[in-house]
Amino acid sequence: MSVTDTTPPVAATAGKPLPKPVSPSRQVWQMFRQNHSAMIGLFILFAIIVISIIGPSLYTVSPRDMVWMPLTPPGQSEYLLGTDYLGRDLLAGLINGGRVTITIGFSAAVLTILIGVTIGALAGFFGGRIDNVLMRVTEFFQVLPNLLFAMVVVMLFSPSLINIAIAIGIVSWTSTARLTRAEFLKIREMDYVKAERSIGAGNARLIWKVILPNAAPPLIVVAALSIGSAILFEAGLSFLGLSDPNAMSWGRMIGDNRPYILDSSWGVTFPGIAIFLTVLAISLVGDGLNDAINPKLRQR
């Protein structure tokens, strides 16, 4: 869509000054703002992030301390959401666990995008033999069952937060690489890329400054959504017992409390709702971004 599309016909603007052309990111925001579910998602996400950042300093109960009778139901003590099987405060766990969960989700997603975009960009830009080799590597990682492979990596190299984020990144980048490659293949044949090349732009400039910004819109959507899937992935790993022993995450809370579900359903219910709300909010924002960036694909 070109900028001129947004200006009204000449007759309507006669006598008035022409409206300023709207920048693309502003256009996206305007579209995004009209999408109610996406705005709700953004609000929930914002609230969760704020709670995770400042929550622990406002609500100072430690998630590790045994503060009350084990398995106390919600609302029956000063600890609002009740306690877990060790008598630890669930609300404190949720507030502190958010930090861990979101940090891992975010860093794993950054890694996913970094690996995926690099491999996809190189393959799509250079083509030929480089493309061939890189796509074989991608295929190889696609064949590896991702959860099992991440389980192996985390088990062999101790479950620290960094190792978990790396494991998730390593198993998740392939679809990003394929998407980036497809975008690069399409864009590198565009006239403006040829024009840049003809005035002597080097490969690095073409990749970073010319093609990547134009390939960015779909990649931004993928990046947003991959935070959500990384959070689910982390939850799955810690549910299986592969979590950092020094950090309390939502997934680990579910895993820890699972043997006691017959006595305390709240121990698994609340952390699950927290994960669900966070990932749902991210999905809503991602879908909203997708609609705003590609208005033609709406309602699919």
């Binding site: 959860l147 099992l148 062999l156 017992g241």
Partner: protein
């Protein structure tokens, strides 16, 4: 077509070879020496005994010799020994593969059938309640952790309304007759298959809706409508057949990922399949078993990808040209 398949086959063999090399490399890169661990368990040993152990495991050989031996063993169907069960890993896998296949087949089947129906209906009426249901389903299915859905279903259907068993594949007291056994397994299968299927349902309802929307806009559907064919005929004969193509492809590809997909659900319901075995291997730090399952899963993925390719060529003649 044959040369295309042959090339894919060669590629598949190469991929599996790469998985084996990766498996081997992981064991060696990972911190922790198996002999030292063993000696630690025995409560110490003389340097001579340690050297002897190293030799008996072949760990004194250069790496390329070790990897050669490893590949040779795998080719003979030997995936190593479980350090916990003291049994060949292939035996363990053979024991556990049945329940996993049963669970995933049932889950995928109901999800694909219901998902396609929902997707096709919602594509025809974009603002109907079915269409909104598909949107909500796919959002919820993508956002909730599958193991948590499983636990919530247990709390609902085994604890609050105890109509389904909490875990396992059979009850100990029944299983007197074959039919009784089948019914017992089916009774235990409902919850895990429902849980796993919900995730697939989210995916397939969305996929088939997208696909159907695309097909409904094609020229041949417009032609069929323009020449006055009844709507039902257009939808089911012309559109649906083409719209299910991506569903078939993804079903094949996902079936290859069975074990990975089933790990969490099997663990929640203590379903005695490969997923639970993988989970137990983590608890027991049983590396050979876990790596064996990883290789076996990769093998399944590769085989299913090949099969999907063959089926796809059959049902979509356009592929043959390329």
């Amino acid at each position: 077509m044959l040369t295309g398949l042959l090339r894919k086959l060669a590629n598949a063999v190469l991929l599996l070879f790469a998985v084996l090399v990766l498996n081997f490399a992981l064991i060696h890169i990972a911190p922790g020496d198996p002999v030292e661990a063993l000696v630690g368990e025995m409560g110490g040993a003389t340097p001579e005994l340690i050297a002897e152990l190293r030799e008996s495991f072949g760990l004194d050989q250069p790496l390329y010799v070790q990897i050669g031996h490893y590949l040779g063993r795998v080719l003979q169907g030997d995936l190593g020994y479980s350090t916990y069960y003291d049994q060949p890993v292939t035996h363990l896998i053979a024991e556990r593969i049945g329940p996993t296949l049963l669970l995933v087949t049932v889950a995928l089947l109901w999800a694909i059938v219901i998902g396609t129906i929902l997707g096709v209906f919602s594509a025809q009426r974009r603002n109907s309640w079915i269409s909104h249901l598909v949107t909500v389903l796919s959002l919820a299915g993508f956002s909730a952790p599958v193991f948590w859905i499983g636990i919530m279903l247990i709390l609902l259907l085994s604890v609050a309304y105890p109509i389904l068993p909490i875990s396992g594949m059979t009850s100990t007291e029944t299983a007197t007759s074959t039919i009784g056994y089948i019914l017992d397994v089916a009774h235990h299968l409902v919850l895990p298959a429902l849980t796993l299927g919900l995730i697939y349902l989210a995916f397939y309802s969305r996929l088939s809706r997208t696909s159907m929307l695309e097909v409904l806009e094609t020229d041949y559907v417009r032609t069929a409508r323009a020449k006055g064919l009844p709507k039902r005929l257009v939808i089911y004969k012309h559109a649906l057949r083409n719209a299910v193509l991506p569903v078939v492809t993804f079903a094949g590809l996902q079936f290859g990922q069975v074990i990975s997909g089933a790990v969490l659900v099997e663990t929640v319901f203590a379903w005695p399949g490969l997923g639970t075995l993988a989970f137990e291997s983590i608890l027991r730090r049983d590396t050979p078993t876990l790596l064996g399952i990883l290789f076996f899963s990769a093998l399944m993925v590769v085989v299913m990808n090949l099969l999907t390719d063959v089926i796809y060529r059959r049902i979509d003649p356009r592929i043959k040209a390329t």
